[in-house]
Amino acid sequence: MPLQLDFMSILVQWPLLLRGAAWTIALTAIATLLGGMLGIVCAWARAGGPRALRWLVGGYVEIIRNTPFIVQLFFIFFGLPELGIRLSPMTASILAMTVNLGAYATEILRAGIEATPRGQIEAAESLALTKAQVFTRVVLPPALKKVWPALVSQIVIVMLGSAVCGQISTEELSYATNLIQSRNFRAFETYIVGTLSYLGLAILVRNLLYWAGPRFLFGR
């Protein structure tokens, strides 16, 4: 039996795919922004915060890094309502992605921060900069620059991981793919298109961040 593939029946559904892709990008963008900030705060706390806070952050990082994203998402979406915290699929997805990225970003940034030469901090302190100023102006920019490739990789990983969010009916790209295949009964071809769409998004996001980082975040 010859293998018959039919891609037309998928491509005619392009508005659905496009909408899904747009949501995937939007989720990733928000999670990157929030998760990045969370990571910076936690990295700072881990590098120079009080002991209890350091332990707390350490625990958070290890728990997130050693459990699957899908379990984190399900815990937030199905578990939290028990505490009266009822989140929409979209909000739950953003929260899960943020918490997840935040943990990885903490570790990545910490490595960059620890690489800052002691002399630079001393120089800044001797110029009477406040502790916060030293961190945001002297320590962070070169650290960010140093770990940017690792951070970008992690952001892409989180975006690819967000495919799971379709499982709680977040209407992102994998959800759209699933919807299309349930309409046209062409599961294999549909998933090929969906998968390749993710590949396109991954390449796009990676290049975009490589381009944007030096321009907006840490100078050349």
Binding site: N66, F75, L83, A163, Q167, S174, L196
Partner: protein, 213 residues
């Protein structure tokens, strides 16, 4: 309505966790074998093979594991293979692991100075002997920590097999949450079990990294 104790939940999860361990083991083992094959293809010096492996790695690292699982699940069916969630999960995770492992090892091999290849070549060793006796032992040392670290990714990756209906730890968690109406407790237990599986591996990988650095 029957009452469920914490032990009921934990016991059933533990039973399901065996499948998580089994799947992780198979994927890691299969990924190792297949990844080594890909590595040799990549080192063969043949442009076409190098390119193909490069594309393979890009494909698996640039797309969601979830989609790979779906693709395998439906793809095997299209190819006429009598498919099951178990088979699809094993194959998909093996391919996924092989792509990452081959890339880790390629980096390790690339980190060996060219002089080592040249010195062994000038001693009339064949390519196979150069790789087996000179490059591999040194590359292994570099690769062992990230390889062990990747095992954590594999264990976590098996959780996605739940989506295509394979009953491992995560899927069992979902089923138990549905009957007990205790999703928070159940998913906390699920997470704790993954943590117990993964955290020691993470620690071990970190210790190796420090020791071999």
């Amino acid at each position: 309505m029957p009452e469920f104790t914490l032990w009921d939940i934990v016991r059933n999860l533990l039973l399901a966790a065996r499948w998580t361990v089994a799947l992780s083991f198979i994927a890691f083992l299969g990924g190792t074998v297949f990844g080594l094959l890909l590595l040799l293809m990549r080192l063969s010096g043949r442009r076409v093979l190098e390119r193909l492996v490069g594309i393979y790695v890009q494909l698996f690292q640039g797309t969601p594991l979830l989609m790979q699982l779906f693709l395998l699940y439906f793809g095997l069916a299209v190819m006429g293979v009598n498919t099951s969630a178990w088979l699809a999960a094993c194959v998909a995770l093996t391919l996924y692991a092989s792509a990452y492992l081959t890339e880790i090892w390629r980096g390790a091999v690339a980190a060996i100075p060219r002089g080592q290849w040249e010195a062994s070549a000038s001693l009339a060793l064949s390519f196979g002997q150069q790789f087996r006796h000179i490059i591999l032992p040194q590359a292994l040392r570099i690769a062992v920590a990230p390889t062990v670290g990747f095992l954590v990714q594999v264990v976590k990756g098996t959780a996605l097999a739940s989506v295509i209906g394979f009953v491992e730890l995560t899927k069992a968690g979902g089923m138990i949450a549905n009957v007990t109406y205790e999703p928070m407790l159940t998913y906390a237990c699920v997470a704790a079990m993954y943590f117990v599986l993964c955290f020691p591996i993470s620690l071990y990988a970190r210790a190796l990294e420090r020791k071999l650095a």
